[in-house]
Amino acid sequence: MAESPDDRRLELLQGTLDMLILRTLQWGPQHGHGIGQAIRTQSEDLLRVETGSLYPALHRLEKKGWLKAEWGVSEANQRAKYYRLTAAGKAQLLREQDRWSLLVEAIGRVMKVAPTGEE
C-alpha cells in the first residue's frame, strides 16, 4: 500500500525552523503564507509548518533584528505583511548553515559506521 503524504511527513527538528525561514527569504521578501508554502514545496511536501509555530518564529526573528517587516500587496492584490532579510539576518543564516552542515555530517558519520560485530 502506497504511503500517503501525511504518513511520510516529518516533524521539524527543534531549532531548524528559524534557519528554514531565513533560507526561504534569501530569494526575496515574502509574506507568512508564502514562506510556509515555500518550505512545503521545496521539501516536496515532507515539511509542513504550522501557522501556530510560523508566526511566533517570524516575530521572534523580527525582534532579534534578522528580519524586517513591511506592508505590501500580494500578486492577488491582497494586503499582506512582507518579511525581508536584513544584513544581520544574512550573517545569521550563514552561521546556521555552517552549524547545520556540521551537525548533518557528524550525525551522518555516526550512522554510517557499520556495527563491527555484524561484519
Binding site: H33, T51, G52, Y55, P56, K63, A80, K81
Partner: protein
C-alpha cells in the same frame, strides 16, 4: 517595534485571504476553500497570543505566568475551602496583631516631636532612691544654682503645675495650669497658632498676668474661638489676659488647660517658693548650647549639683542618696512605654509564630494528601521549580487573604493598643492608623508565604521514576508525622509562655481587686471641693464646717467629713512623706527618722470612712488652733515607735526642715492602718492632724445610707448655694476611685490575656488538626485493629494519649523557655517567676484544651467502619 493587536489581526487575515485565493485558483469551491483555510490555520487566538508573547519583555512574561499560577491556585483552593478559611483567619490574627502593635511602637518610639530641634532638648531631674522616689522636681533655689553653673546648656526652661479656680470660660471650675518663666517656650521650641506665647517680657513681679491656652483646651472647650485672644479671665485671685494659643503639642510634663506666667500665681512670688530649698515643684528643661553634647552637659550639671549638695547638707540627707539625672527629652518621654511596648511586640510576634506554625501544619497535611497529585504533575513534566511555584502561588493566595483581613483587623486594634500605651507615654495619645500597617502586613504575609511554600516536601525524582502502586487514599511517612507533631508541640510551648504571662498579670490583678482596704468602700462618696491655695485659713475651715453641718442635715446622709486627701486618687500629691520622731523613741544610730504621711482630717473622719479607732479618742470641736496641738496616729506608727504599747499621751513632732522649728503634738488616738497611697495595701505610717489646727482641706466625704450617687446633685446644689463660684468635682465612691486607679492594671492584664486567648485558640485548632490528620491517615490501621478484636475504647484512648502527649511535651518545652526568659528578666531586675497557680493553671488549661481538641478525631477513629477500612487496603 511590537505590532499592535490590529496589525496582528491584519496579518492573520491576510494569510487566510491568500490561502483562500490559492485554493479557489486551484478550483476549490469558495465556501469549502474558506473552511479549509480556516481549519489549516488552526486556533486564531492562540496564535495571536503566542505572537504577542514573543514581543513582551521577560518580566512581563513572568508576571503573566504568575497571574495564571494564581488563577490555578485559587481554583485548587476552592476544593479546600475550609482549610483556606482557617489558614487565612489565623494569618489575619497574627498579621493584624503585629501590624497594630508595630504601628503603635513606631509612632510612639520613633516619630519626630513637634518641638524645634527636639534632639537638642534635655530633661533634668533629681532622684533619691533612699526616699523611694526616682523623679524629684526642683526648688527655685536649686534651679538658680544649676543655672549659674551651666555653660553647656544654652538656656533653661522651668514648668510647675498648680490648680487654679478658673472663671471666664463657662462654669467656674478648678483647672490644672502650668506656670512658666519667659524662657520656657523658647527652650522647648514651641510656636503659637494664635497670638503670641509667654516670653522674657512677661517675667518679673511688675509684668501683667497673662495666659496661653493649650491647643486641646482651645479646640475642645472653646471650639476654636479665635476671639479668645485678648479676653480677660480670672485665675484664682488674679485677672489674667489670654495672649495666645499653643500649637498642638504633647500634654507633658502635665496635662494642663492653660499655661500662665509667674506673676499670675501669687504662690510663685511667695517666700516659700522663691527661697525654700526643699520646696520642690518645678520641672526643668534645657537646650544644649551649640556644639555641646548631652554627656558634657550631664558632667557639668552633676558637678554643680554635687557642689550644691555639699553647701546645703540639711536639704540633702545622706540616706536619701540624692543625685542628678540628665537625659535627652525624647528618652524621658518614651522610656516608660518602651518595655511595655516591647513586651506587646514580643507577644504579637509569638502569636504570629504560632499562627505560622499552625498554618504550616495545615499546609503540610494538605500536601501529604495531594502527594499523588504532585507525583502526577512531576511525571507529566513539571519540574521542581514549577511545583514550588505552584505551592508558592497557593500560599501567596492564602497569605494575601490573611494580610488583607489582618490589616482590616489591625485598624480598630491600633486604637486599643494606643489607648493602652497612652498609660505609659503621652506620645501614644495621638497615634493614628498609618500606612506602616500596610507594609508590615504585606511583609509578614510574604515571609509567611515563602516559608509555607518550602514546608512541604516535593516528590523526589526517585519517587517519580518508580511510581508506586496506585493506592486509593494516602500514605503518611513517619517523617511527615513527626514534623506535624513538632509544629504542634511548638505551638503549645509558645501558647504556654503567653498563658503564663497573662496568668501572672491576672493573678496580680485579682489580688489587687480583692485586697482588703480597711475602708467602707461602697457607701462613702468622695468629692473634690478645692479652694485656691491662698484661701486656706480660718475662713476656709469655717466654710468647710458650715458645709458639713448643712450636708449632714440632708436626708440619706449618715455622716460628713473633710480631709485633704482622697485615697489613691490623690496618691503622690503629698510627696514621699515627712520625717518625724516621738519622745521615748530611740532611733538606731546612723539611721534616718521614720517617714510619715501627713493627713489633715475633720472630727468624725474615721467613722465616716469606716476606719476603726483602736485606742484613745477622735478629734473633736475643742481641737482648735488655740488649744493643745494633737495628732492621731496609725497602728503602725504606734507599734513601731512605741513597742511597749504606750503611744497615747506621748508626744511626736516633725523633724523635716519643711516644718521649721519642731513643735511637739500630743498623741490622742490610734486608728487602724489604711494605705491610701497604694492600691495593694501595705503598712502605713500615717499621722493625722485636726483640720482646725492645720487649716487645709478640699476633699469632702459623705457616708450615705442609700445610693451615694443620689447625693451628688443635692450636695452640689447646697455648696453652690453657699458660694456660686465654688467648684464641686469628681464625685465617686471609694470603690469607684479604686477601680479607676486599677484601670491600667486591668488593661494590662486584658491585653495580654487577649493575646494568650488567641494563641490558645490557634494552638487548640493546631492540635485538633494534627490529630485529625493522623487519625485519617491511620484509618486502615484502626480498621485492622478493630477487625483483630481491639476494643473501640482502646483506639479512642490511644488518640487521646497522643493529644495529651503533644500537649505535655509542649508545656515542658514552654516551661523551659519560660524559665530561660524569666532568668533574663531577673537579670533586668524583674521578680523571679514562682511556680504558683498561674503557671499550673496555664499548664492544666493547655492540657485540658488538648484533650478537648482530641475528642473529635478520637470519636472519628472509634467510628471507623471495619469493612470499609479493610476494603481500601
Amino acid at each position: 517595534m511590537a505590532p499592535g493587536r490590529r496589525a496582528l489581526d491584519d496579518e492573520i487575515r491576510g494569510h487566510i485571504a491568500i490561502s483562500i485565493q490559492e485554493r479557489i485558483e486551484r478550483g476549490e469551491d469558495p465556501e469549502a476553500a474558506r473552511l479549509a483555510a480556516m481549519k489549516e490555520f488552526g486556533n486564531l487566538l492562540l496564535t495571536r497570543e503566542s505572537i504577542e508573547s514573543v514581543w513582551r519583555p521577560r518580566w512581563v512574561e513572568t508576571l503573566f505566568d504568575f497571574a495564571s499560577d494564581i488563577r490555578v491556585a485559587m481554583r485548587s483552593l476552592q476544593h479546600a475551602r475550609g482549610l483556606a478559611a482557617t489558614v487565612a483567619l489565623m494569618l489575619a490574627l497574627g498579621i493584624g496583631a503585629n501590624a497594630a502593635v508595630f504601628s503603635v511602637v513606631r509612632q510612639v518610639l520613633f516619630r519626630p516631636l513637634v518641638n524645634r530641634d527636639a534632639e537638642r532638648l534635655v530633661y533634668v531631674r533629681q532622684k533619691a532612691p533612699g526616699l523611694g522616689s526616682n523623679n524629684i522636681t526642683f526648688s527655685m533655689a536649686e534651679i538658680r544654682d544649676l543655672r549659674a553653673a551651666s555653660t553647656k546648656l544654652a538656656s533653661f526652661g522651668d514648668f510647675s503645675t498648680l490648680d487654679f479656680t478658673l472663671v471666664g470660660f463657662g462654669d467656674p471650675r478648678v483647672v490644672k495650669a502650668g506656670v512658666v518663666s519667659g524662657s520656657y517656650f523658647e527652650v522647648m521650641g514651641l510656636r503659637p497658632v494664635l497670638g503670641r506665647l509667654i516670653d522674657a517680657n512677661d517675667d518679673g513681679a511688675k509684668a501683667e498676668p497673662v495666659a496661653v491656652l493649650t491647643h486641646r483646651f482651645w479646640t475642645t472647650a472653646l471650639k476654636r474661638d479665635a476671639s479668645v485672644v485678648g479676653r480677660k479671665i480670672r485665675l484664682g485671685s488674679r485677672i489674667a489676659t489670654v495672649i495666645g494659643v499653643l500649637e498642638p503639642s504633647l500634654p507633658w510634663p502635665a496635662d494642663t488647660e492653660l499655661i500662665a506666667n509667674v506673676v499670675a500665681s501669687p504662690h510663685h512670688l511667695g517666700a516659700t517658693m522663691v527661697m525654700q530649698r526643699t520646696h520642690r515643684m518645678t520641672e526643668l528643661f534645657g537646650r544644649l548650647a551649640p556644639g555641646a553634647t548631652v554627656a558634657e552637659a550631664r558632667a557639668e550639671l552633676e558637678a554643680a549639683h554635687a557642689v550644691m549638695m555639699a553647701q546645703h547638707p540639711e536639704s540633702y540627707p545622706a540616706s536619701a542618696r540624692t543625685s542628678l539625672v540628665v537625659r535627652p527629652f525624647r528618652d524621658q518621654l518614651t522610656a516608660p512605654a518602651r518595655n511595655v511596648l516591647l513586651m506587646l511586640l514580643g507577644a504579637a510576634g509569638v502569636v504570629f509564630a504560632i499562627a505560622c506554625s499552625n498554618v504550616a501544619n495545615l499546609v503540610l497535611a494538605r500536601t501529604v494528601r495531594r502527594e499523588s497529585e504532585l507525583a502526577v504533575r512531576a511525571a507529566l513534566g513539571a519540574g521542581r521549580g514549577a511545583l514550588r511555584r505552584m505551592l508558592l502561588a497557593e500560599s501567596l493566595v492564602l497569605c494575601g487573604t490573611g494580610a488583607v483581613l489582618g490589616v482590616l483587623l489591625a485598624q480598630p486594634l491600633v486604637g486599643v493598643v494606643s489607648r493602652f500605651a497612652a498609660r505609659f507615654s503621652v506620645r501614644a495619645l495621638d497615634v493614628t492608623v498609618d500606612p506602616s500597617l500596610l507594609w508590615v502586613g504585606t511583609g509578614l504575609a510574604l515571609v509567611a508565604a515563602v516559608a509555607l511554600a518550602f514546608v512541604p516536601r516535593l516528590p523526589s525524582s526517585h519517587a517519580t521514576a518508580a511510581p508506586r502502586p496506585a493506592v486509593a487514599g494516602l500514605r503518611i511517612t513517619p517523617g511527615t508525622g513527626r514534623r506535624l507533631q513538632a509544629f504542634a508541640v511548638a505551638q503549645i510551648a509558645l501558647s504556654f509562655v503567653l498563658l503564663c504571662g497573662a496568668g501572672v498579670l491576672l493573678s496580680a490583678l485579682v489580688a489587687m481587686q480583692y485586697a482588703h482596704t480597711g475602708y467602707d468602700m461602697r457607701r462613702v462618696l468622695a468629692l473634690d471641693v478645692p479652694l485656691p491655695i491662698e484661701a486656706y485659713g480660718k475662713k476656709a475651715v469655717d466654710f468647710f464646717e458650715e458645709t458639713t453641718r448643712r450636708i449632714e442635715a440632708l436626708p440619706g446622709v449618715e455622716g460628713v467629713a473633710i480631709s485633704n486627701f482622697v485615697p489613691w486618687r490623690d496618691a503622690g500629691i503629698m510627696g514621699p512623706g515627712f520625717r518625724f520622731t516621738a519622745d521615748g523613741y530611740d532611733k538606731v544610730p546612723g539611721e534616718e527618722d521614720p517617714h510619715g504621711r501627713l493627713r489633715i482630717v475633720s472630727p468624725g473622719f474615721f467613722a465616716v470612712l469606716g476606719v476603726p479607732m483602736l485606742a484613745g479618742r477622735d478629734f473633736d470641736a475643742n481641737d482648735r488652733a488655740d488649744h493643745e496641738p494633737v495628732v492621731i496616729v496609725s497602728e503602725s506608727v504606734a507599734r513601731q515607735l512605741f513597742p511597749n504599747g504606750n503611744a497615747i499621751d506621748h508626744r511626736m513632732w516633725w523633724t523635716d526642715p519643711y516644718f521649721g522649728k519642731p513643735a511637739p503634738r500630743r498623741i490622742v488616738g490610734i486608728v487602724a492602718d489604711v494605705d491610701d497611697e497604694n492600691v495593694v495595701p501595705g503598712p502605713a505610717l500615717t499621722v493625722y492632724h485636726p483640720l482646725r489646727q492645720t487649716p487645709y482641706g478640699g476633699r469632702l466625704f459623705v457616708h450615705a445610707s442609700g445610693d451615694p450617687y443620689a447625693l451628688v446633685a443635692p450636695v452640689t446644689k447646697l455648696i453652690r448655694g453657699m458660694n456660686a463660684d465654688q467648684p464641686v468635682e469628681r464625685p465617686a465612691t471609694l470603690a469607684d476611685v479604686r477601680g479607676t486607679v486599677l484601670a491600667p492594671e486591668r488593661l494590662n492584664a486584658f491585653v495580654l490575656s487577649g493575646f494568650a486567648a488567641v494563641a490558645l485558640l490557634i494552638a487548640v485548632v493546631g492540635v485538633a488538626g494534627v490529630l485529625a490528620f493522623s487519625v485519617s491517615a491511620r484509618t486502615r490501621e484502626f480498621g485492622v485493629r478493630l477487625a483483630l478484636g481491639s476494643s473501640r475504647a482502646l483506639v479512642v484512648r490511644q488518640v487521646l494519649v497522643e493529644g495529651v502527649l503533644i500537649a505535655t511535651v509542649g508545656v515542658a518545652v514552654g516551661a523551659l523557655g519560660g524559665f530561660g526568659l524569666s532568668r533574663i528578666g531577673e537579670s533586668y531586675g524583674h521578680a523571679p517567676l514562682a511556680l504558683d497557680w498561674p503557671l499550673l493553671g496555664a499548664a492544666v488549661l493547655l492540657i485540658a484544651a488538648a484533650v478537648a481538641a482530641s475528642l473529635v478525631p478520637a470519636a472519628r477513629a472509634s467510628r471507623v467502619d471495619v469493612v470499609q477500612a479493610l476494603r481500601t487496603e
